[in-house]
Symmetry: C2
Subunit: 709 residues, 2 copies
């Protein structure tokens, strides 16, 4: 996709635009697009195209692209679906570089074939395609409003990328109402060619864009998206609203867009891993955008709450915990800092309670203290309407104080009260002061800022690349493929683990009773014995396992009875032998898995074994590659993590060895893309320093291509 970058620049900064389907009739989308381009003051060359001819907004309509004298960088196509392919052929003939297909009626209604035909043709002829099924795009760099949405878009520093056209158009209106300026807004619709990653490639270095807001329903090339997001989020915050959180919502999203919604817990984990801040609702997303677009970054984590009401102070304290905002706790420092500014009867704890008697002047004094001090890094200023609270005076004070701190320290305000308070909020919001009529949304904004702060201050390190004997693994794969299997047998899976250096219980294959006894003596009693046969998948059911064998005699008896039971269970089973295995003390059992996720590529999974995963759903996911810090954080994120730290007087477990195993398993999937699934269950974790042992390993290869899938 090396050709993506120049084309993507053409999309955002075309020197000339043709609108195919430009119409003299105001009811037509092509008419509206020309109107918006003209009204938006696009300085490039604009060519309305329509065989009917005529004139639109003072521009002559040309009959065909070929009739245009100069070059055309971008063609916006707004004609019925059946004519789009021919239009794209025309574009190719004209040497257009970027095609924007507004038209709907393609994959989103099941018409995947025509969409593919168009995109394949365009790509073969050196063009990139945005859409189809979109409302177009706005790019502030060249003042281009090539949408059929509202004409008046405020210029600013927020870029919006949306999969849903309807939400995009609605957001244009909402950003206007909320006084949020846009650097760009792009609808990517069916994402038949260009997708979010391509658009982010442009936005990452786009100076005017300080923050990106995305609305996503489904993801196609998730691994690329994650890598791109990780680059963008280190430079500018990315807020994502993804619908389809619920099972039913995911179904609705899939039926609506045709793209893969995927499990929301996986999506959530991996985009956060890439530094994304996730909002739930449209309003939340826009609130956070506006705040992050206008606020100074914090210099530290010590936040102080100033309030004239204990009740809202407590609500804000709750909200701080919910949104990950740390409150400054040094009572002595607070008392010294606020003693002079805080009225009598006030409290210097955090929340600093300046009491219901506080006037606007008291607020000003306390705000000045909080803003001036280097040990306070963010301020939450709350007010309840009282008899002495003068909303007009408060408005003036905020206006006076604001310019001084705007560039230095993040502050949020929340006021609760009647019409005067609401008026004050409306006035200050219009001036881009982050003030809200409830406590939670105010604190949530600060929470979003601190999420960005934490990520950029502790970014992932260089990815851990495990040393694997890839050749050995490939040899195993070749053998399995030769037998047209997808499941690896136990000894094959063990060979893969050995090649990756994941420790396993000692194990030897015996084909005779004396061999079994010799192996057991070498391994050391007690041992476990298991039948080895391609024809017996469920060994327990077949009586193919014997546990806790403590001496020669028990090994001999087990050998005979396993063979006897398995032959009874499946008389025609080909039995390769019996595996003699070290008996592992079952300390803490974990599950480590990895799979090629349809949306996100290699994904690793970790959880405590058995019931914890199956019943308690206590699992966590990350995308691969992983760095050491992220894998440590992954392990500690499960609820049952205390079991690894050691509870009830038990020793701490070897968490480092678990991390190593996770990295190795993810590495196998990345370096050997023939493998689609690995599950170690259980991975026994011993006390710290004593490592882990992969007791049971299940490995699956990808569907072979000749299967046609």
């Amino acid at each position: 996709m090396n050709d993506a970058l120049p084309a993507i620049k053409t999309l955002f900064e075309p020197a000339s635009v043709a609108v195919i389907g430009a119409s003299t009739k105001p009811s037509k989308i092509g008419h509206k697009i020309v109107e918006n381009i003209v009204a938006g003051g696009y300085p490039g060359r604009l060519y309305p195209v329509n065989p009917s001819g005529g004139e639109v907004f003072g521009r002559p309509i040309v009959a065909t692209l070929s009739a245009i004298p100069g070059p055309v960088d971008m063609a916006v196509i707004a004609i019925p679906a059946k004519g789009v392919f021919a239009a794209v052929q025309e574009c190719a003939a004209k040497g257009v570089r970027q095609v924007v297909i507004i038209t709907s009626g393609f994959s989103e209604v099941g018409n995947l074939e025509e969409e593919r035909r168009i995109v394949d043709y365009a790509r073969r002829h050196g063009m990139r395609v945005l859409g189809p099924n979109i409302f177009g795009l706005y790019s502030s760099t060249v003042s281009l409003n090539a949408t059929f949405g509202p004409a008046d878009i405020c210029r600013g520093n927020v870029a919006i990328v949306t999969q849903s056209g309807a939400i995009g158009i609605a957001m244009i209106g909402k950003t206007k109402v909320e006084n949020i300026g846009l650097s760009a807004i792009i609808s990517c619709g069916n994402k038949a060619d260009l997708d979010e990653s391509d658009l982010l490639e442009y936005l990452v270095d786009h100076e005017p864009t300080h923050i990106v807001l995305m609305y996503i329903e489904g993801v196609n090339h998730g691994d690329r998206l994650l890598a791109t997001l990780a680059r963008v989020t280190m430079k500018k915050p990315v807020i994502v609203i993804k619908s389809g959180r619920s099972k039913r919502g995911a179904m609705a999203a899939a039926s609506h867009t045709g793209s893969l919604a995927g499990a929301d817990d996986v999506f959530d984990a991996v985009v956060r891993q890439s530094g994304v801040i996730r909002a739930e609702s449209i309003q939340e997303g826009l609130d956070w955008c506006k705040f992050l677009a206008n606020s100074a970054p914090p210099l530290g984590r010590q936040t102080v709450i100033i309030t004239n009401g204990g009740g809202v102070g407590v609500l804000a304290t709750d909200a701080c915990e919910k949104y990950g905002v740390d409150l400054f706790d040094d009572q002595k420092v607070l008392a010294a800092a606020f003693a002079k500014a805080c009225p009598a009867f006030g409290s210097f704890k955090n929340p600093v309670d300046i009491t219901g008697g506080a006037t606007a002047a008291d607020y000003e004094a306390c705000l000045q203290v909080a803003l001036a001090r280097d040990d306070l890094h963010a301020v939450i200023c709350l007010g309840c309407e009282t008899a002495v609270f003068n909303a007009a005076a408060f408005t003036e004070i905020i206006r006076r104080v604001h310019p001084g701190y705007r560039a230095r320290k993040p502050v949020v305000f929340s006021l609760v009260g009647g019409e005067e308070i609401e008026h004050c909020i409306r006035v200050l919001r219009a001036e881009n002061i982050p003030i809200f009529n409830d406590v939670y949304p105010a604190v949530a904004c600060l929470g979003a800022l601190y999420a960005q702060y934490r990520y950029t201050h502790h970014p992932p390190g260089p990815p851990a690349v495990p040393q694997l004997d890839v050749a050995a693994i490939r040899q195993v794969i070749t053998g399995v493929r030769a037998e047209r299997r997808r499941f690896l047998l136990a000894h094959e899976a063990q060979a893969v683990m050995r090649a990756a250096g994941v420790p396993m219980p000692q194990s030897r294959l015996a084909r005779t009773i004396p061999e079994a006894v010799a192996h057991a003596r070498q391994i050391g009693f007690p041992v476990v014995m298991k039948v080895v046969s391609k024809d017996i998948i469920h060994k327990s059911d077949a009586g193919g396992i014997a546990l806790n064998l403590e001496n020669d005699q028990e090994v001999i008896e087990a050998y005979e009875s396993i063979l006897h039971r398995c032959r009874q269970h499946k008389p025609d089973a080909l039995i390769e032998g019996i595996e003699v295995v070290e008996m592992v003390d079952r300390r803490v059992e974990t599950i480590v898995g990895a799979r090629q996720d349809a949306a996100f590529g290699p994904i690793v999974m970790f959880g405590l074994g058995g019931i914890y995963v199956e019943v308690m759903k206590d699992v966590t996911f990350r995308s691969f590659p992983l760095d050491q810090r992220t894998v440590d954080e992954m392990i500690s994120s499960i609820r049952s993590y205390p079991l690894l730290l050691g509870v009830r007087g038990e020793e701490k477990k070897d968490i480092g060895a678990v991390a190593a195993a996770i990295i190795k398993v993810g590495g196998i999937l990345t370096q050997c893309p023939d493998i689609s699934d690995i599950e170690i269950n259980p991975l026994i974790v011993n006390d710290e320093g004593d490592g882990v042992k992969a007791v049971d390993v299940r490995i699956l290869l990808t569907q072979p291509k000749e299967d046609g899938k």
Copy 2:
């Protein structure tokens, strides 16, 4: 508290009110209260009282209460704290029935003694006290605005009870802005005498009040509150905003109000058990109030979403799952219902997607279908701004359709877009149409309505009253008290369990080796043996336990070695004998507990044993008494519930026997208030029909009174 009711009527409907501290100075609270009472049009007799005399709002100020000619029902006291006691004495002399103490400076700043002195005096003289540390109260029944908050309160059907004065005053303003009418608003402040329960006693039968909104920080007499709430919620919805959810928030609440915040998970569980709907933020609480105050109750659970944008449809689907709104699922019925009304290319699935081309007329057609059908019980109507969406026409349609369905079917609207959309929302909200500028708050309102629906349609049944041998339990308690202990010894705890009918493993006390052998034979091998001694608390540490004894010889050896080890461990221990206990097959281990909660009285607790409770925090609480349905729901509410249903091919466990044990344990606490704590850990649960066994039981008595605590 039988005297509460008549006094509480006096509080809300006094025939005469004196304001002690009425002042001619506009800066004084007493001045503002007289102003509000006069402006509010209170028809009763109003007496401003102040030794300084003068006139206020055309009323002469009398010097003392005694100078008032007629009776005084209620006295509002707004003078400095040091004069309040004397004023209350005056009230008693005058025969005042209800004292409202606005003044602060009592228990909330540590001055508990003066507060107690005032309340004790008032109660001894037949008066009830509201406050201190409040903003007063408004009661629509007698048009009494005895607050120092805003003068203009809209009359309506929402009653607000708030612990925080500042939030209360702010809410008065906010209700005005939001066009929410109030039937009453009362601040209860320090709750030195009257608390939320007293106020609810009045509101439960108060015709004008259709819904109650409460802001709570801490609870004092929680058991009474729960019982009162349960009665109110069957008649009218109660929405509670409780702050102090977070650990730090709870600390802040405690320091701010002096009342017991308690663990939020306990509060949350027990108020929901009483039918309360819990809101997180002030805005959420007010949104829900307004919706429930104005909406028809649903006749069933089948909700349909109508939308012109797939994206917002998916967001609404997610929100439905979050807020417990059930979507109607019969595709055939939906297709038949909407085929005619829905435009071409629309989707009849739920969300019903009428496409971005939908006009206001299309909305009207689909809304009429959804509203007319008896099989659709609630409607979520969503709109995104599009080129063809005419906000003015939409406004008119809603206005036209609304009167017809208002009384019959709940509907919520959400529109996302620009200034025209926002204008439409403002206009319709002012007419009490539930329309929002985002999807989540709209669906959340419907969720609150359905929470009320579910509770009132499946209310708790009659409380289960377990049959206990209370006399036998009292006898045990008497014995323990005589020895000045609080911990019950094992055999005492077992006697309590026997008296309650909670099954235990068979157990017999042996004082000699032949006795031990005889007991073991009778019980049946294998057995467990445990030392019995008041002086040995931790039996395992002392070597006082032997497990899995399979024959006479092992019993003999165990007897000797237990004695030997315990004497080594604690030479002066008085050993009563050795308990021989049936060895129980450890199926599923659970914990059943009960305790006298400082805030809520008898509370029962249930969870799966060991790690599940300790590490996974997978426990649930309910207040006692419990009905059968609630205890069943309690058991099924833990995350690890599938383990009781049987996973991995295991049999279903005896859940009924668990429920019986929970009811018995709660019954012991209720019927024997000397017992403060019971913990059965583990309660082994066998397969269905095979019951439970309480293996280890820990019982604690209340702190004896002579300890002075």
